[in-house]
């Protein structure tokens, strides 16, 4: 089962490498990873998407938590969090097919960010599932290049509290 884990880390050299090394060493796989600043200066957030059973997930969390630069580890439960991802996609589009593609993208609240002689580049933000759907619709047109950021997430105000995985103490 897939889980989204949000890790707050001190913005120190090697902080990301330590987490990545830990995953590699313990044999855990990372599906996606996004890193960026937070509301606190000197603190970054690493959002990881991992495929793990509950037992491994608990191990992952505990092992991450042991890293000296890690301040907090939380799982973002799907029903208690908002998750978003950004997609940039350049798709083949002759002038006569542009209109169709653009109207498709509008259904996903996408924007055209670049136009070429035979291509359009879209920017889309949404849930990873929405991006998947748009990607599939664009595919028959010929995807030239596609890049996604990996998901980031935030707990909903209504969430009881950020669910700490470390059940023990």
């Amino acid at each position: 089962m897939k889980h989204t884990i949000s890790v707050l880390v001190e913005d120190k050299p090697g902080a990301l490498a330590r987490i990545a090394t830990m995953f590699a060493r313990r044999g855990f796989n990372i599906d996606s990873l996004a890193v960026g600043p937070t509301e606190r200066s000197g603190v970054s957030c690493i959002t990881l998407r991992v495929d793990a059973e509950h037992h491994s997930l608990e191990q992952i969390e505990k092992q991450i938590h042991k890293l000296v630069n890690v301040l907090r580890v939380t799982e973002l439960a799907p029903d208690e969090a908002v998750e978003r991802e950004l997609l940039l996609l350049r798709v083949s589009a002759s002038p006569e097919r542009r209109a169709e593609l653009i109207s498709t993208s509008e259904a996903f609240k996408g924007r055209v960010v670049d136009l070429g002689a035979d291509s359009v580049t879209f920017e889309l933000t949404g849930t990873p599932e929405e991006l998947d759907a748009f990607q599939e619709l664009a595919r028959p047109h010929g995807i030239q290049e596609l890049i996604r950021t990996g998901r980031v997430g935030i707990a909903r105000a209504s969430a009881k509290k950020a669910r700490r995985l470390s059940a023990i103490n």
């Binding site: 490498a17 505990k62 000296v68 023990i168 103490n169």
Partner: protein, 574 residues
Amino acid sequence: MRINGADAILRSLEAEGVEVMFGIPGGAIMPTYDAMARGTTVRHVLARHEQGAGHMAQGYARATGRVGVAIATSGPGATNLVTPIADAWMDSTPLVCITGQVRSSLIGTDAFQECDITGITMPIVKHSWLVQDVKEIPSVMKAAFHVARTGRCGPVLVDVPRDIQEAELDFGYPDSVDLPGWRPPRKVHPLQIRDAGERIARAEKPVLYVGGGTINGDACEELLELAEAGGLPVISTLMGKGAFPESHPLFYGWPGMHGPKWSNIAMNTCDVLVAIGARFDDRVTGKLSAFAPGATVVHLDIDPAEISKLRDADVPVVGPLKKALSLLATEVRKHRDAGVPAPEAWLRRIDDWREEFPLRYSNEGAFLKPQRLMETLQALTADDDVIFTTGVGQHQMWAMQYLLTERPRNFISSGGLGTMGFGIPAAIGAKAGRPEAKVVCVDGDGCFQMTAQELTTAVLDDLPVVVVLVNNGYLGMVTQWQDMFFDGRRSHVDLSGGVPDYVKLAEAYGGVGMLVLREEELEPALREALALDRTVVIDCRVDPAEHCFPMIPAGNAAIDMVEYEEPTTVEATS
């Protein structure tokens, strides 16, 4: 105080109360060695290989409970420390390794003797620092010692570029650390203790499974308290050896691959297994799914990540073991006072197993038997403060089985990583930490040559150790596996051939060499060596055919032990 970074490193070590460091100088660490020459209260022991320096620091740490310090140059100096760092990581030994690094401006350019040692060691340190500003040195050093010794102990690395050692700063050593992400558990949950106490007290067949964390957590007195309060049998891992006095009536041996059968039967048939600072290592459990199948597991550890890592804990207790065991002892005593009986019948059953399945070997034949060697050594050292260190292999397992350890920090061996060559440098480090103790390294001939050069250090730095060489002319444990599991095909394990001459080698290093060929020569040689205040190597030629029993073949259930069998003698027919 305006000083340079190198002086700041030494002033930091002094502020931490470090009495000795082990190392070798080289290009990128020269400013710090120059600072040593200008003066420091910290003794420096010059190793002959950085791996030796690292294991010395480990031996020092394990013998004293203080943080070990190793220091080396960049590149090969640093990579030579990797094995001790990995060893300290596996066995949770508090270690601060200081390495020189090439100048900041050269980092990343493949400069002479450059290597990314913080990168290389990332999976085997608790934390590491590449110092980027001379002003960081005091706070980094403070943090390094703090991280190494708090929570679950372990190694840290501080990598200091040469220009940063040379740059100047206003030195002041901080009183506190600023590590918002490092918060090892300091409390124990009272409800967990109550639950654990109840289960342990009411158990019919409890076993205390004691690991090295008990020694690291300075919880040995509390362990004794708990065992005696509850009348609970204690089984100790190799790393936990010495945590509980091994002549105590409640002591029931060592678990795992070469543990006695009675210990393994007890571990595997108990109803409540209390893991204390132990981590269900595969050498202890054998086939995990078949390990202690009927047991409720109470797991006490300072490291939450060890709880339910391999075996699900029914009652997890996270926190400092000293506190946890003390509370647990009180709790169990309460139940006993209320009339919940101690598991007397269970103890008698284990006693029966002990009688039925004792450690056995045959003392027949012309050769000195390694087990007899251990028994003799045990008899000669039983009443003294003797620290044993070992290499890794058959001799190590025999040492575990026969050298009864009464006190914590008196048996020092490489457990998790299984580092051959650990014994000699670890012994030297132990001697540096506890000069009043006699230090004996029980080593194999395979291990000996991996770090024998450190005998130089033992002699020149006046850190005399006795090396009892269990010399069977083979890489013995590998040979045993080839004999048992590879149809006896012996592949590249033969070390015999008379080279080197260990007696002459010992003398060449400035020590005393002795040769023991027969059993009757053993005791006088050991007596003499133990009485001398010198570095001695006793080359004991033991039976090359001897296997270490009992044994759980790797991957098998612990209960399916292979035992020693008396050689069948063919009746002569007339």
